[in-house]
């Protein structure tokens, strides 16, 4: 019987590989710490984009 594909796992591994390549490139160039800082900036922008649910509720009022 054919094994069912685990799509969520494949998507997770694909995203992880992509991030690993980004970190490896930075490590080779000696700027791994800076790359983490850049990722933090991007994450902050993502959190700020729509805000927390409470913030979004306040905005809607």
């Amino acid at each position: 019987m054919a094994r069912t594909r685990d799509v969520v796992w494949e998507n997770y591994r694909r995203a992880r590989r992509k991030l690993n390549e980004r970190l490896l490139k930075a490590k080779k160039e000696g700027r791994l710490r800076e790359e983490l800082r850049q990722m933090d900036r991007e994450a902050r922008a993502w959190w700020a984009k729509e805000g927390t649910p409470a913030k979004a509720r306040r905005k809607a009022k």
Binding site: V8, R14, A15, N20, L23, E42, T52, A54
Partner: protein
């Protein structure tokens, strides 16, 4: 006696299972861990988790995870440059290939943010004995607290969390 509040670093593999439309058991266990085991504890998320979720190729899957992640309002670890140093050291000590850099950076974030446990569904790469041994030895030597690394059910059992 008041129950101790634990700091739980939830890895991307954990968050991804919330959007699993195929495997009901894994999705239900993940929801139970998040909704029953986590509310009395601190949930930690690093910028790496956000970056990986944003890189999830399926837009519907990504939308579900993002919505739950925002709703959860976890503690954000912020920029932790030491996580990079720890990841590099662990990579050398474990003798692992470069493919594990990002996995060990997650471990680095969990260590630096003083997580009691790193919760993941990734039993092939992260939640395995060799990783736990190397992380524990490293942390003992560096006088750091080693996080437990395990699957949701394992962490719930080790920390006696109700699911």
């Amino acid at each position: 006696m008041a129950e101790r509040q634990y700091r739980l670093y939830l890895d991307t593999a954990f968050w991804n299972r919330l959007a699993d439309r195929e495997n009901f058991h894994l999705r239900r266990t993940t929801y139970r861990f998040l909704n029953r085991a986590c509310p009395r504890h601190e949930v930690l998320v690093s910028p790496l988790v956000v970056a990986e979720i944003q890189a999830t190729p399926d837009p519907e899957e990504r939308r579900i995870i993002e919505r739950i992640l925002r709703k959860q309002r976890p503690e954000r670890t912020g920029w932790q440059p030491r996580a990079a140093d720890i990841a590099t050291a662990l990579l050398d000590e474990g003798g692992w290939g470069p493919r594990m850099l990002v996995d060990l950076t997650h471990v680095g974030y969990a260590i630096v943010s003083r997580a009691d446990a790193l919760v993941t569904w990734d039993a092939r790469t992260l939640a395995r004995p060799r990783v736990r041994t190397v992380v524990q030895a490293f942390c003992r030597r560096e006088r750091l607290e080693a996080p437990l690394i395990g699957l949701p059910e394992e962490v719930a059992e080790w920390l006696e969390l109700v699911m």
